[in-house]
Amino acid sequence: MSNPIRDGFRAGLAQGELLVQKCNDCGGLNMYPRHACPHCQSLSLGWQKASGRGILHSYTVLRQGAPQGFEGDLPYALGVVKLQEGVQLLGRLIPDPDGNWDSYKCDDTVEFTPVSAESIERRPCASFKRINP
């Protein structure tokens, strides 16, 4: 099914960019991308490359009970990130060098981290990594 906003966002991820939808009329930022601007109802919508920096509002490490097709990914971490731009999204969290996520805490600063195009093809979602304060 044709879905330009989904495809546009994913094309950005495949090129190593986190795109946030920007309204060409009111300049408002929308995340997740919308089919009409929720601020002014404009249908003229484009993209802005995000700074990539944000605050980790919350996160979890899933250790069991993955949905079908995700079993091989276990364990994996998910986090809600509030971007500097004032919008937010759910993404994956990149583990510490030891393969765990012990260094992560709520309200940590995290940064969008590009992953390979093959990885985006398989899991079209943003990944974030904790950055040392």
């Binding site: 069991q64 009970g65 079908q68 994956r92 899991r123 979602c125």
Partner: protein, 409 residues
């Protein structure tokens, strides 16, 4: 948007919508029961409780199941007209859906139909067959419903992870200990020991046991996650005038309601430690003139401890940030200052999908009718606060219910 929604009916209105009966089948794993059979039997139980027969019903509202897409899409509400012998008699039958908060919205809808005259007597039916379904299939199904397929499904999100995101933020924001979180589960289990219909009846629980169970979705342990169950509940609503005409002295009316849809996608919730509870509570209290001290019991959606802890804070049962510690103090226990989830809730009576909230609602009505089994009936209860939430905790819904007679049965 309007800030207030004054009710058009009051306790003296002939068209004031009231509950007159409830029905319930035991929750748990019941492979020998079936969907249509349970819907039929539980409907008849509710009608019997209301001293009615199916011919007294003109409208059936069905609360959806989640165990089967086929059973969901099969227009079962009309099949119930056949099963109950109402062909040609029934005026209207349809399904209402807002996930776990469906029961709250079904009450609003039935109330509107009754108050406006579009319905006289409404039978609301629910049956879920999760407990007997294939667990892996259900986990996968629950990673598709209430989660945006373009934006969040690719992350591998599922329902325990959603509960965990709320729990982690709640614990961080309120500095609640793992013991305080586990104590919510223990309170619910204490109530379940008084409910033979509960999945975990006869299976006591301790904080130590909760915290030593395996980690499922950090920081949630296995025993902090709800168990999928079979179950069925039903209730009957009619007008105050019709109840009186039928000699039903004791009914339960809706003093007010409030709601707040705070997100659809879990990644869009502005504050995972709070959700929409404070706004929903404010709207409900304003509509009814009630405050948090005006009820003697509460029945609050409880798939995860943090959801319920956030709710009791939003409802102002305790100070902000104190929800989990309020449970830990024993306030919501049997014999506590504000008994909560007196059927054992979803974490201990069993998670019957969209029906989990319905079971809590029905327990509130049953308590207000003074028809709960004596071991858990709260003596003299006149008012109950009901809280529900659906999908990824996308909304907070509050119903304020009150018994219409002071004494007698």
């Amino acid at each position: 948007m309007a800030d207030t929604w004054p009710l058009n009916v009051d306790a003296k209105s002939p068209n004031d919508p009231v509950f007159v009966g409830t029905g319930e089948l035991p929750s748990g794993r019941y492979p020998d029961r079936n969907f249509i059979g349970d819907l039929t039997h539980v409907g008849l139980l509710a009608l019997k409780d209301a001293q009615m027969v199916p011919r007294h019903v003109d409208t059936i509202l069905l609360i959806p199941n989640l165990h089967s897409a086929v059973d969901q899409a099969d227009l079962i509400f009309s099949r119930m007209a056949e099963e109950l012998g109402l062909i040609g008699h029934l005026k209207s039958s349809f399904m209402v859906h807002s996930g776990g908060s469906t029961s709250d919205n079904a009450v609003r809808l039935a109330s509107g139909l009754i108050a406006s005259g579009h319905a006289r007597t409404v039978l609301v039916l629910q049956c879920e067959r999760w407990g007997s379904a294939d667990l892996n299939e259900m986990v996968t199904m629950l990673s598709k419903y209430g989660i945006p397929n373009e934006w969040e499904m690719p992350t591998g999100l599922q329902f325990n992870a959603i509960g965990a995101l709320i729990t982690r933020r709640y614990m961080h924001a309120t500095q609640s200990s793992p013991e305080a979180m586990a104590s919510v589960c223990v309170t619910l289990r204490k109530w379940a020991q008084l409910n033979p219909n509960a999945m975990y009846y006869g299976k006591p629980l301790t904080v130590e046991k909760v915290l030593s169970s395996k980690m499922v979705a950090e920081p949630l342990h296995a025993l902090e996650c709800p168990m999928l169950a079979d179950g069925a509940v039903a209730f009957v609503m009619t007008s105050a005038e019709n109840a009186k005409k039928r000699g039903l002295e004791t009914t339960v009316r809706v003093a007010g309601s409030g709601g707040c849809v705070s997100h659809y996608s879990i990644g869009q919730e502005p504050d995972l430690a709070k959700l929409g509870w404070a706004t929903a509570a404010k709207r409900a209290y304003e509509q009814s003139g009630w405050g948090p001290k005006d009820a003697q019991i509460a029945q609050i959606y409880d798939t995860y401890a943090a959801v319920t802890a956030a709710a009791v804070e939003g409802l102002e049962f305790c100070e902000p940030g104190e929800g989990a510690r309020w449970f830990q103090s024993g306030a919501a226990d049997p014999g506590g200052t504000l008994p909560c989830n007196t059927n054992g809730g979803m974490l201990s009576a069993g998670h019957t999908g969209v029906g989990g909230g319905t079971a809590l609602l029905v327990e509130g009505v049953r308590q207000l009718l003074w028809r709960a089994p004596s071991q858990r009936q709260v003596t003299g209860v006149q008012r109950c606060i009901v809280g529900g939430t659906g999908g990824s905790y996308m909304d907070a819904q509050v119903l304020l219910l009150e018994r219409t007679s002071k004494g007698g049965k």
